[in-house]
Subunit: 218 residues, 2 copies
Amino acid sequence: MSKKVGVLLSGCGVFDGTEIHESVLTLLFLDRAGAEALCMAPDVDQFHVINHLTHQETNEKRNVLVESARIARGNIRDVAKVKAAELDALILPGGFGAAKNLSDFALKGPDAVVQADVERLIREMVAAGKPVGAICIAPATLVRAIADKKPEVTIGNDTGTAAGIERMGGRHKICTVDRIHVDKTNRIVSTPAYMLGPGIKDVAVGIEKLVNEILSMI
Amino acid sequence: MSKKVGVLLSGCGVFDGTEIHESVLTLLFLDRAGAEALCMAPDVDQFHVINHLTHQETNEKRNVLVESARIARGNIRDVAKVKAAELDALILPGGFGAAKNLSDFALKGPDAVVQADVERLIREMVAAGKPVGAICIAPATLVRAIADKKPEVTIGNDTGTAAGIERMGGRHKICTVDRIHVDKTNRIVSTPAYMLGPGIKDVAVGIEKLVNEILSMI
């Protein structure tokens, strides 16, 4: 039976949702390794909608689950209906959606609140000793959800974000885009991806290592 | 100087825009091969907007260039402003957008009309002997744009679509998802991708071959 890995999406587009390249690369490397991906997202409105051409906020309303379904080709579930017992591991790709829709870390920093269903699933996974991966800015939301566990993560080398992570109770480690950081105690793997870039082939290196490390920990 | 390859997008999402996996894989393999991708899309309204969770049409309006910018992380140009002289090659990923927004083949079959800027750029490329790649359903739009050249393409093995291609003046060749078809006369490369699937690792095989073949023809 293949390993079943949740991929927690947060919309569709780097500025207001999931980073599309990071999520597709996660799905590619899971499939190549013979694992089954279960895409999921919270059924809530996006914090806002950004026109990705002009970088301006629009007055549209979009739903996180509905937009995430674009990346998942329609094969996606409401995270509220997913239990940790169904999964062998969980991966959170990045993009601003991970810090605007899964939590509000992009707006409130260390005072962020994690979306309730997202927090519940992350805490169930960590409590069950199941590995969790977080890419790009997603480690900030992950740290907020399990701050009491003092998780150790990387978001690259951005000092402001790293300081926010430390203030929430996490520990931050500097890391390059082609590497991963592993918190062996909490079974958490993170990689900087587009927090550093510069391009898709570069972020693919770290994401492939993250996926393979997560699968090896199952 | 690196090879410069246009990637012609048609929105963001398989049912009403560009197939996201196919476009990201195209960008990945171009970057890995050291080529520069220039993303572009027409500045027109999408034919319609599909809720990718429910598969129902919504009453929203979205712009093809604006939504394509999500895949391009904001780094994209209006195809109307792009000349073939700037490019070494052009690739059209698939998704219904390639047959709803770049042309209306999905609606009108062989009577399809190609969007004017898209048709102009494709015809400039082929006239200049520059290679053009087309993935999934995109070969149908490509054939309509250069039907007078009797292009030879594959969309996999769907008999209805293949018949439509033949009625427009193209020639269709059956092909598996892990292979490409090359029209040496017109310098066109095509691969079935999600016309066949079944999964992302499978379509990645054909898309990587298509990208590498296109680059070798420059």
